[in-house]
Amino acid sequence: MAGKRKPKLAVWKFASCDGCQLSLLDCEDELLAVTGVVEIANFPEASRRVVGGPYDISLVEGSITTPHDAERIHRVRRASKLLITIGACATAGGIQALRNFADVDDFISIVYPSPQYITALAKSTPISDHIPVDFELRGCPINKYQLLEVVGALLNGRKPNIPPYSVCLECKRRGTVCVLVAQGTPCLGPVTQAGCNALCPSYNRGCYGCFGPQDSPNVAGFAAVLEQLNLRHDDIVRALRGFNAFAEPFRKVSEAYEK
């Protein structure tokens, strides 16, 4: 890469908590290495300096929840060579997609003293519902090592190692004892995509499904397992309605159990 200009990286925020883009700042030890290989051209959380587009890599955080954002995302796409969505909001609609299961106007009338100023779309939707996306990085929040892996893979022209299989493989490779089998703890690991290195089970908790459905999810079969653990139907609905509630495999089964 010697002599060539550094690729320009931009970070864009939509409806989100900022946690995923902060994962980039959270790189700490690796942060200088990142700025050594890319030019941080647009990242308001890190610097007020903004370099104009087009951008080689855009990281997009957040979901689309307003008509304004539904239009803005197209401008981001036009200004970006590679567009990577990061986090559960951008890839599945996020926790705010819980409103998709109810009437958004009901929420607005309860939450805001002057609802007439609020313009919101009926649903919170992932970025890929609006524009073509080159790569999706899952998680709530994303794992910083996975972020470095994707950026590193792009810069070195290789395929990123972001496995779409279940959390169970990570648990077993670590030697963690299965909390579902050994304790009867409801754990979304079998239907959830790996990427966190099976964090929660290693602390004796069930998986919350932060990384969304794995690539071959049998959520109906999994819900039957939860029933065997004596979970009630509304418990099963709640288990599936977390940060990735609107991801289709989770949504379909939670809706079936709601009836």
């Binding site: 890469m1 690796e30 290495a33 990142v34 050594g36 290989v37 470095l148 892996e149 950026v151 590193g152 893979a153 810069l155 070195n156 290789r158 190692n161 496995p163 779409p164 299989y165 279940s166 169970c168 493989l169 077993k172 490779r173 670590r174 030697g175 963690t176 004892v177 299965c178 909390v179 579902l180 089998v181 050994a182 304790q183 009867g184 754990c187 690991g189 079998p190 239907v191 004796n204 794995q214 690539d215 071959s216 999810p217 049998n218 109906a220 079969g221 999994f222 039957a224 397992v225 065997q228």
Partner: protein
């Protein structure tokens, strides 16, 4: 492989109060000991130094999809069946560096990792696990392609087997003649004998190293009655085993049932999570993963445990060969119980029951195989799914 041919089998008695002398003798021989220890609600395999590190007085209750520990009043040493770990985690680790590369100007240099060559002792190896080790020995070290990392790790392992007294509800070693009594492949084999007045170990030597160890222990020669008591332990264990796998013409039957609709019924329950393959002591599939640093100055190639239940496993140009869970479960079961014979001349299953216990959905391969065997063979047109 590492076990010397025994000069002459000798049988001794070691009192439980003297068990630490065995551990000390093993450690003095330069081995670090790995064996059963309690962790996070299960009996796992990890480093241990004292007899008190063992799960003293613990039993396990295993069923399809369920594992629970039970504390008892008696200070038993090995009154439980196999847990979620197997010895493959030491010999064929979940993640293993193959090589690293460093860029130097326009060239690069390849560095092979230091091949570890630890002197380890495995304590509490069950008969089914000895058979699983023999399967991996054959796959990794017997043939034109030797897995050098496995061979080095394996060569100095001292094996202290334990004959099963408490098989779990998911065990079925008797169907495959892989247990509960260890018949070979060990340096020492222990039987824990617990009667009203006695609590001791009957120790059988299986190698010169084992005999040498016994010479340093406060043991006495076993009497006929001691040997009979030990035999009673394993014959009683064999009688406790409830599950079975009928291996008669199994290979042919599975071939015939390739398009049976029953596979679809299994796939409705199967979560494609891969747990069965991870806990299986004979599943050995792995993938190779390349990583680079951001600058591309340094790269690494690692071998990682993989599973035939993932979509990526069968990915070739254009997509996954086995896109459905049905095809993946069928691949796993038929490989294990049928095609393993073609490939390695042996069965790929040792009847340890781990895949049954640790399947979150409680899918039981003995039950599913039985259902397939019971079904009439009909030739049907199928798109194969």
């Amino acid at each position: 492989m590492p076990v010397d041919t025994s000069p002459e089998k000798a049988i001794y008695v070691l009192e439980t109060g003297d068990f630490q002398t065995l551990l000390d003798a093993v450690m003095e021989r330069g081995h670090s000991i790995f064996g059963p220890v309690l962790r996070d609600g299960a009996i796992t395999y990890d480093a241990l130094h004292r007899d008190t590190d063992l799960p003293l007085g613990w039993n396990d209750r295993q069923q399809a999809g369920s594992y629970r520990l039970v504390k008892t009043k008696r200070k038993t040493f090995f009154a439980y069946a196999v847990g979620p770990h197997s010895w493959k985690k030491f010999l064929h680790p979940p993640s293993d560096m193959l090589c690293a590369a460093q860029r130097i100007d326009d060239r690069f240099s390849i560095n092979e990792p230091d091949r570890e060559h630890p002197r380890r002792a495995f304590l509490g190896v069950r008969s089914c696990e000895l058979h699983a080790l023999a399967i991996h020995d054959k796959i990794f070290t017997d043939g034109p392609f030797i897995n050098e990392a496995y061979r080095r790790r394996r060569q100095d392992i001292l094996i202290i087997a334990v004959n099963c007294s408490h098989p779990s509800e998911t065990c079925f070693c008797t169907s495959l003649q892989t247990g509960p009594r260890a018949t070979g492949g060990f340096d020492l084999a222990l039987t824990e004998v617990l009667t009203s007045g006695n609590h001791h170990f009957i120790i059988e030597t299986g190698s010169a190293a084992g005999a040498e160890l016994c010479a340093r222990l406060p043991v006495r020669k076993a009497a006929r009655t001691d040997i009979e008591a030990a035999e009673k332990v394993t014959s009683a264990a064999a009688k406790k085993i409830r599950r079975s796998l009928n291996t008669e013409e199994l290979r042919e039957t599975l071939d015939q049932k390739f398009s049976d609709p029953h596979w679809g019924q299994i796939a409705d329950r199967c979560l494609a999570c891969g747990n069965c393959t991870m806990v299986c002591p004979t599943c050995f599939c792995s993938t190779v993963e390349d990583t680079t640093t951001l600058t591309g100055e340094h790269a690494e190639r690692r071998l990682k445990w993989d599973s035939c239940f993932t979509a990526e496993f069968s990915y070739i140009h254009g997509g996954s060969i086995r896109s459905s869970t049905l095809s993946r479960y069928r691949q796993w079961l038929t490989h294990k119980l049928a095609y393993w014979f073609d490939q390695f001349g042996m069965c790929g299953c040792v009847g340890c029951g781990r895949c049954i216990t640790w399947c979150p959905a409680g899918i039981d391969l003995t039950e599913e195989t039985r259902k397939l065997q019971e079904k009439k063979f009909v030739i049907r047109r199928t798109n194969g799914r």
